[in-house]
Symmetry: C3
Subunit: 149 residues, 3 copies
């Protein structure tokens, strides 16, 4: 499903980046897949250096980066049957409060890829700083098909 | 159990608020319910605009808002049999360090509602900013009764 | 496995600290163990008061504190068979961006204790403030052996 939708949307996954420290891109626990936090290529503080729309686009692109990592881990994205929870961290200026708008960049893509099962519980938070000075960070818990256990 | 305790405590749930962006109030994964982050109606920075006791009360009220959302999602709160994990984000001034005191406002209510199974693992963090400039944000993972699967 | 590795590494667990507020050190949900956020004994802001290497060592020591709490909760650490997800919060100066380097202090210890199953998904975030002004906070989701259910 996801692989076909990526093609339909004309999205090509990049070469997956290797974690920069001692952790895995994702880890399976039964039917759940815990996916590591991944920062955006976009650097800067949202509300000052970076606009809300630039940050929203960065959230979408970060999810595409994450999909590349998961494909490398699982071999194929089609074992993902649902999105349970996504957390978005936005490096925010003291007055920037539109974190939900930013993280929708990634949530919208999940729904484009998986339809209703792509809709998820979510938390968006404003943080002071992120690894490498990135603007956005995403992490998530995904549901895997039983046959993949 | 929870429905009866709410009545015993004289707590009436408000009309549930709809998520402001592209996400669900909660999402089930087997016996677990992932509950989205929900911000307090109370705005402001704790330690400057908002006192620790106002923030603690806001944490309790935010949990009541969340219960309204979950009841709308599940139809009934009595399928909740335990609280596994709660995360509390407190919009904190640079010197405010009593996040655990604030989040107890919600943890105490869980124990009032569910007794021992309402006690939970928890993390309290101080963040720079929250959606809409809220003072407090809560998210959690709940345990559902098997029959509800 | 973990108990033996702790002895091999010469690590003695401290007396477990009791949570300072109304929450549990950890809570089991099926084969998963949700572990509460625990702050480092080390106080201060990383990048100003505290160096990155001091913070990294604090992350390792915080995991040792957490192991003491889990041993008290479970009776024995050998029911832990894997580490699913770890989250590290680093109280960061506005320009400190090496959160992954800091949290490796704890991730490395997990791998020393459990080998390959100790490798995990992870998120490292920079936050403005932590309970008690601590430098580092860790929380995690662990995998338990089936026989412990």
């Amino acid at each position: 499903m996801i692989e076909q939708q990526l093609r339909a949307l004309g999205i090509e996954l990049p070469v997956p980046k290797t974690p920069v420290a001692n952790y895995l891109g994702s880890k399976r626990a039964g039917d759940l897949l815990f996916v590591s936090g991944r920062v955006s290529e976009l650097r800067g503080e949202v509300g000052t250096d970076v606009s809300r729309d630039e940050a929203r686009e960065a959230a979408r692109l970060t999810l595409i980066d994450i999909l590349a990592i998961i494909r490398a881990d699982l071999g194929d994205l089609d074992s993902i049957v649902s999105v349970e929870k996504m957390n978005g961290f936005v490096r925010s200026s003291p007055t920037f409060t539109e974190q939900p708008y930013v993280i929708d960049g990634a949530s919208d893509l999940w729904v484009e890829l998986l339809g209703e099962p792509g809709r998820h519980a979510r938390t968006a938070t404003g943080v002071a700083q992120l690894p490498f000075g990135a603007a956005v960070q995403l992490e998530m818990v995904l549901g895997l098909s039983q046959s993949e256990r």
